[in-house]
């Protein structure tokens, strides 16, 4: 073994160890990140479900309202007009 090989091997070992440690750190970082994301998604989904349950309850409540009992009556006459397409953008001079 040449005398030059020893420092080269030593440096290689150091680089390998450094890479290994970097790999471990990256693994821990991404695992933590992944866990945090997964947890926050699950929590968000849980919140959405709660809101959706409230929505269903609201729909049930409003659908059961009898408008006649609330004093609403049918209109005496109804006139129908054909709808016209209205552009969402218009020029100022128009």
């Amino acid at each position: 073994m040449s005398s030059r090989a020893i420092p080269v091997l030593g440096c290689s070992c150091l680089v390998a160890i450094a890479l290994y440690l970097l790999g471990v750190a990256a693994t821990v970082f991404f695992a933590t990140w992944q866990t945090g994301l997964a947890r926050s998604i699950q929590e968000m989904e849980g919140s959405v479900i709660s809101l959706e349950t409230e929505y269903y309850e609201s729909v049930e409540r409003y659908s059961s309202i009898d408008p006649v009992a609330r004093g609403f009556t049918s209109p005496r006459s109804v006139e129908y007009v054909s709808s016209t397409g209205v552009s969402s953008l218009s020029r100022a001079d128009q």
Binding site: R39, G46, Y80
Partner: protein, 578 residues
């Protein structure tokens, strides 16, 4: 140089030996000294993990504006358990816990007394806030673990259609009813841990990601069910069911052009969130699992067959004698009265059994049978719900007697599932073509791609002209005959027909006092957006479907017109103001 190298090697060897010794010592403590405790902990982690990381695709309903709302999803919360051996003051722990959630004292005492068991569950599905509050207290011996579970926000609405997941005898958690069962392979997920090694998972699952077909097709279901319409349908059906004390009441609202089912419901229903406490008799879905003799709503199909075959026209007349005898069996009108010479319109307006028997006779056995088979009668519809059964038209398949065809012409002696019936009736609302009824519109794959499902091409049974003629007759029924024409909508053409059928007895023949009421209709009649089928089985104290289902049908029709802002088809439009 060589001596220095040798020294370095010795130092490294010594270090390796020290580390190895430390590892062996640690292993000794882990495996021998504390082995039992770690084993229990590991088992506990496994048990809790299988619940905590429970994963499954969602089932979405679709609102009219296209936004999606969960019909089945995963709830998130906490599980509270104790390690009795680590509780310092059981009384104090009990008092603390009861300030956060309900807990039976006897149950807690029993759990706390099991000092040999390091894991005793006290409560499941504890809310986020409560779970976090208890966790923050950091009470020794109290274990808080994350938990997920299946939740059905719509509760008893469309419960038989959505279904639910449950354990079977082999302790496998999977979809057992409804869409949960039919699409179990799409909804089910492999259990992956919440706390994972990113790189380890990446490489471990690389093979799955590339080659696992199940992984590629798993996703979320997007149904055509509209939650507000579903709620309305549920309310209308519940009112009918309660008012007449029926054995069962059901309804389907479908887009006749595509076969997408917008809402379907049967009463009684159940809450799948607490299915263990509910009556299992109601878990199955009657709209695909039960067949009924629908009665007079079949008459428009006989009429369409007659017109399409060219054996009658709208102007054809026949002599109504009130009763006719075929193969020694007497067929009567509902009131037994004769009408004399009447046109075809009166057959539908007055629901004359002798009239449709006349058409069946004109058609002949083979053509009659062919039309009903083309409509899908006697076969499964192919709807995406499990346990579908076919209807039965054996009477006209096997018997050569005229009387069987005559009774089939007004919907007796043959039986269909409600879905099969709406599929056949849908031909009248879709230019004579039948479509495949279905619940799921698309699958949103985990990859993010949305895959639209194909439900086949519509199959033509009748000419569009023949169907339009029948539609005109059915509009006439609503405008002039139904409730004396009082429920007609002046601005909107609605085509509809009632059906009152006798219910067959197991011993043969029919019950004298039990009836099956049905009602179907579609609107706007000449460009239908919706077709509605309603039925109620064994309503009490009422004879005819016109009494039980006319107003519920019109209530749903008026609701759908308003909710979807369907433009009226029978008014003059004024010029819009500038």
């Amino acid at each position: 140089m060589r001596a220095a190298l040798r020294l370095r090697l010795r130092v490294i060897a010594a270090l390796i030996m020290v580390v190895a010794f430390l590892l062996i010592a640690r292993l000794y403590f882990v495996q021998i000294v504390d082995g039992e405790e770690y084993s229990l902990r590991a088992e506990r982690q496994y048990v809790s993990a299988s619940r905590t990381i429970y994963d499954r695709g969602s089932i979405y309903f679709t609102r009219k504006d296209g936004t999606q709302l969960s019909g089945a999803a995963l709830g998130t919360g906490f599980l509270v358990a104790i390690d009795p051996s680590k509780l310092k003051n059981a009384d104090q722990v009990y008092e603390t816990l009861t300030t956060h959630f309900e807990l039976e004292e006897e149950e807690f005492r029993t759990a706390a007394a099991k000092t040999n068991d390091p894991y005793e569950v006290l409560a499941r599905r504890v809310s986020e806030e409560t779970g976090r509050a208890i966790s923050d207290l950091d009470i020794p011996g109290v274990i808080i673990e994350r938990e997920r579970w299946r939740i059905y926000p719509a509760e008893d609405r469309a419960a038989q259609t959505v279904g639910f997941v449950a354990y079977d005898n082999d302790n496998d958690l999977a979809g057992r009813f409804g869409l949960e069962r039919y699409y179990d392979d799409v909804l089910s997920r492999s259990n992956t841990g919440l706390f994972g090694n990113f790189f380890a998972e990446l490489f471990a699952n690389l093979d799955d990601a590339v080659g696992n077909a199940n992984h590629a097709r798993s996703g979320n279901l997007v149904t055509a069910i509209e939650p507000v319409v579903l709620e309305k349908l549920d309310q209308v059906l519940s009112n009918v069911h309660a008012k007449y004390g029926s054995a069962e009441t059901g309804g389907i609202i479908m887009n006749p052009k595509t076969g997408e089912i917008i809402a379907l419901q049967t009463v009684p229903s159940f809450d799948p969130n607490v299915f263990a406490k509910e009556d299992s008799e109601y878990f199955g879905n009657p709209v695909v699992e039960r067949r009924y003799e629908f009665g007079s709503i079949v008459k428009p199909l006989t009429m369409a067959s007659g017109i399409d075959a060219g054996v009658i026209t709208a102007n054809t007349t026949y002599n109504d004698t009130g009763t006719i005898t075929l193969n020694s069996k007497t067929i009567s009108n509902f009131d037994g009265k004769a009408r004399g010479v009447v046109p075809m319109q009166e057959i539908l307006s007055q629901s004359l059994n002798t009239g449709v028997s006349f058409i069946a006779g004109k058609l002949g056995h083979e053509r009659f049978r062919d039309y009903f088979e083309k409509l899908g009668m006697g076969a499964e519809t192919g709807i995406d719900l499990p346990s579908e059964i076919p209807g039965t038209i054996d009477n006209i398949l096997k018997s050569p007697r005229d009387v069987e065809y005559a009774t089939a012409s007004f919907g007796q002696g043959i039986a269909q599932t409600p879905v099969e019936m709406i599929k056949a009736l849908g031909a009248l609302a879709n230019d004579g073509k039948v479509v495949t009824p279905h619940i799921v519109r698309s699958i949103r794959l985990e990859s993010g791609i949305t895959k639209d499902l194909s439900w086949g091409s519509p199959e033509e049974v009748y000419d569009a002209e023949s169907v339009e003629e029948v539609t005109r007759m059915l509009v006439n029924v609503v405008d002039h005959s139904l409730a004396g024409g009082t429920v007609a909508i002046p601005e909107m053409s609605v085509a509809a027909k009632t059906g009152t059928a006798q219910i067959s007895a197991p011993s043969g023949g029919y019950y004298d006092d039990r009836y099956f009421h049905s009602f179907f209709g579609y609107f706007p009649a000449y460009e239908p957006k919706f077709i509605i089928l309603l039925y109620t089985r064994e309503p009490r104290g009422v004879r005819y479907a016109s009494e039980t289902l006319t107003h519920p049908f019109m209530e749903l029709t008026n609701f759908l017109i308003s909710y979807y802002a369907i433009p009226p088809d029978r008014v003059e439009y004024a010029e819009p103001e500038e």
